[in-house]
Assembly symmetry: C2
Homo-oligomer: 149 residues x 2
DNA sequence: CTTACGGTTACCATATTGGCAAGGTCAAGC
DNA sequence: GCTTGACCTTGCCAATATGGTAACCGTAAG
């Protein structure tokens, strides 16, 4: 009567410590939508299924999802998270590889931050020179028009 | 023999001071691809065409494209550029409207910058605590795993 | 006339996330 | 046992802005 080997029913899977996708989402902070998406693009291995094709997740699956969420919070794109997951699973990894990824990411962030700070400064400079009242004169639009000042 | 009123041939349009799309791209720094795209989404009015359906651009068309490029360089999204273009064309605009857009954009940028700086700091902290040699121990992966330190 | 270049439209792709629709499943209450 | 509501499934569409490709036709120069 027990069919625990391949595709259990949901209640049975739960007894074995599995959770369904919405519980996994709540437990990891990754939306159900994204959990399915990560599986579809191969970032995570195909989830185990019940007889009714419901996805169920073990504690180690949840662990991996939390890993992904934290990496996303650090701004890593999916491709790099793929590499990080490989390194995470690889006992013979060299920490140098991981450090290099982290520093490369930090460097990219620094460059983007510098660009955005330049934009922000330019906008605030322009806004400061703009009266901001009912008059139509506007140094901001003048600057966008390419007028010399 | 002259058919300059509606749809001239390319040579004729050129004599009237029009340029074709690749010249417009070079003159404004907006790629031909993007010029067509901006037209398709209604950011710019439909370009004038020659008999053979080639787009041709007047100096004021180029002026508008340069305006768009500068606004993009300041990080304005297309939707806001639409508003900026309207204000630019509107003689009765109030500079307050433009200033508000610029400051709102500056504010968004500041928020994104703060987030990214937090990521960057976190990454550099982690990298600094990582030996970065051949050993597998790696505080970066430990942190992503959620281990307490 | 041929050739090379460049224009045209219409797709596809990126990366990430949200939303919706149609249909099947689970659990609880009657 | 049946109904009901919540939840699962897949698949498709949406957004951001930009790049690429393919098939077809126009233009300019030899």
């Amino acid at each position: 009567m027990l069919k625990s080997n391949q595709a259990p029913e949901l209640a049975e899977a739960r007894q074995q410590g599995y959770v369904n996708i919405s519980e996994a989402a709540q437990a990891t902070g990754v939306s159900a939508k994204m959990i399915r998406h990560y599986e579809a693009i191969g970032l995570t291995p195909p989830a185990r299924r019940t007889l009714a094709d419901y996805r169920v997740y073990s504690e180690s699956d949840l662990h991996r999802l939390r890993f992904i969420r934290r990496a996303r919070n650090l701004g890593f794109p999916i491709k790099q998270i793929q590499v990080l997951l490989d390194l995470w699973n690889n006992q013979e990894r060299a920490s140098a590889d991981v450090k290099q990824l982290a520093l490369a990411r930090a460097h990219e962030l620094a460059e983007r931050i510098a660009e955005m700070q330049a934009m922000q400064r330019a906008l605030e400079d322009l806004a400061q020179r703009c009266y901001g009242d009912g008059r139509p004169d506007c140094p901001i639009l003048d600057d966008l028009s390419g007028e010399q000042h």
